[in-house]
Symmetry: C2
Subunit: 456 residues, 2 copies
Amino acid sequence: MPDFDVYLEDRRQQFEEDLCDLLRIPSVSADRRFAPDVRRAAEWVAEQLRHLELKVELIETAGHPMVYAESPPVPGAPVALVYGHFDVQPPDPLDQWISPPFEPTRRDGNIYARGATDDKGQMLTHLKSVQAWIETQGRLPLQVKFLIEGEEEVGSQSLHTFLKENRERLACDVVVISDTSMFGRDRPAITYGLRGIAYYELRLTGPKQDLHSGTFGGAVMNPANALTKMLAALIDDQGRIQVPGFYDDVTPLTPQEREQFAALPFDEAAFQRQLGVNALAGEAGYTTLERRWARPTFDINGIFGGYQAEGAKTVLPAKAGAKFSFRLVPNQDPKKISQSLQAYLEKRCPPGVTMELIDMHGAPGVRTPLDCPYMSAAARAVERGFGQAPVFICEGGSIPIVLDFQQQLGADALLLGWGLDDDNTHSPNEKFRLVDFHRGIKASCHLWEELSRTTV
Amino acid sequence: MPDFDVYLEDRRQQFEEDLCDLLRIPSVSADRRFAPDVRRAAEWVAEQLRHLELKVELIETAGHPMVYAESPPVPGAPVALVYGHFDVQPPDPLDQWISPPFEPTRRDGNIYARGATDDKGQMLTHLKSVQAWIETQGRLPLQVKFLIEGEEEVGSQSLHTFLKENRERLACDVVVISDTSMFGRDRPAITYGLRGIAYYELRLTGPKQDLHSGTFGGAVMNPANALTKMLAALIDDQGRIQVPGFYDDVTPLTPQEREQFAALPFDEAAFQRQLGVNALAGEAGYTTLERRWARPTFDINGIFGGYQAEGAKTVLPAKAGAKFSFRLVPNQDPKKISQSLQAYLEKRCPPGVTMELIDMHGAPGVRTPLDCPYMSAAARAVERGFGQAPVFICEGGSIPIVLDFQQQLGADALLLGWGLDDDNTHSPNEKFRLVDFHRGIKASCHLWEELSRTTV
């Protein structure tokens, strides 16, 4: 196994300078005025990859361009596909940044800039590890493909299409993504599970126009009253969702998983203070980490109807509605849930009100099997990079692209996050801890070696 | 008893012209650009009263001026106070008017203009009846006081103050108000009951900022979820309000009242069609008219929280809230209800969420006793004016000024509505049926005579 320590120590300054060059490009994908900058970022990434003698292509799409690159095939070794993105969130509100978002600034061991952790800094670790291999070994021990896009922050539409149309070209054994977080400071982690989602909008209509609540109150069903009844019926006071069959397909937490979660140094009191609540809450019988990572939930995301401005208006609203979603765990089927939900709500929609349930989007939860050999390889690489074995964690949110890779390419994803929960992703003063940038590069160097030795 | 028929027939054209003059003044009290027009309307009313040799005063207030006038005292006869208003609602949306709102236009026996029924046309009937007495009899059979304001459509704040500070001057035995509706076309009615109201805003706060519903869903109580549970608990599926003690002080409907309501020619199917609902609904065990007029209700007037715009946002909102109100029936005390409600909601506010209940305003319901002799006098007068005995009805809404008169002056109000339910009050194409304008004047002529003969 090659030792990259001296090489990486020598290149420390240079790699940070390269990161700063990329961070200076305001590649905001949501704002069309920055489209030329998104393209500049794509070209910057492509140029880096070209220097490593990869076959590089700047791919034009209906939106922003993406970069595809591949190193030469290595017979007998698996193929790894690195996914990342060079586009960033808008930097607003600008006045809350301590240093300007596109003037990368070092403070307290961090680099501050929009995109520092999400995802320029994290993504770059894998380019730099390839550079380390090429410059020290003259080769990579396995074939690495890079698919780096510029529309992640606006929905990855072009990537989705590209994946479907380029399955053979993108064929790989495992996907590597660094766009998540560690469990905590100096606590490296591998994320092996993501929750799915089923998102709905419920619209109720009562009378054909808003009515005076004095003249007509008591004569007709108020759709806002009905809405609260129907939504309240979706979950009981123990946090159990009441839609028939909802839990039928839930893969229960294994005793080992519960032990693993329980062994994590999670500080409930600090978490509660961070959120500013007087108590944590959720499904009875599960710990906070279990409820966040591995149990389904019901949350109203928006609720609306009637008069919302200052003061009092005596209106009986004609309409009321809500946006709400369930987070799903592996094996739950959003389509099956939609059907059961529709029937459950229809049964509870009172006379005098009509309902429309809009199925906004759904995605099942995903898991990368913990016993998958690539997972063990990644764990060893992270341990070499960070000097500490990673913990295995889940993420309560959904990363649709992970499911896409699983479905289109049949490859599981290794979610190797080098970020931290307090990196201010999508917020002012986004940062990335520089020591983790360098440890991430080192872990990635070892990842290529460890993966190359893995046979399934 | 004088006969006014010939006189009124002669003046028909003139009275309609006078009404049109007043309707041409755009006295929109809510819009300060129309303040000079509100004043012009006040001066127009004052001028009319001056011609009748009443003692007239244009009273300046912090807002729009009001008009006070009184005829000479008549020893041995009761004193009647006529209340009305010359301000109008804004005419928007203008493009929906068939003829311009301030160009009174006759169509199908109606006069169309903003303020036609609410309240210029109805109010004017009492000025014209006084004119009839003065011009035919040279005197009024009782003392009539007029208090006509210009802030009814914006909350009657100045009137409220004026009432409190001028109790002696305004002293009277009965208040006469024409600002409501008949039971139906050619079905004159006297409104003897109004519901009260208790209006609240409930604000719930969970985490200190909006959270990602994936990352944090299941860990904390969602205030929008809590809101639906708390509001749903306020009323059961039979339409019974669940706040402890809520019904304790309710004056039940008497068997006579229920008979009277049942005898009214109320067309449920037509009412349902008018509102555009597939069913009527409300408290079990009561008819639609009972539920609208004489039973308490719970209605959510507005509900809000989280993401309300297009599409899906996976937010767990930091805050959620609702505006809601109970309609009250006589003898229920809004203050007592507020206390019980506060305790009831606090008990149901789950850990992880804090609540604030804002008591926006409250007013008890009012009844004018059906056996009050002024009521019988009014009924006889209405029968003379309309050729048909009035029915006795209630109104589900609240008219705060009626309670004010009762509390400040100790006088019950006769609510003699000449309008119709489809007069488009507060809406485009407001109208007033001209035959009812004239029958209202005639009824008012007889009202002065009938009241003058009444002793309590």
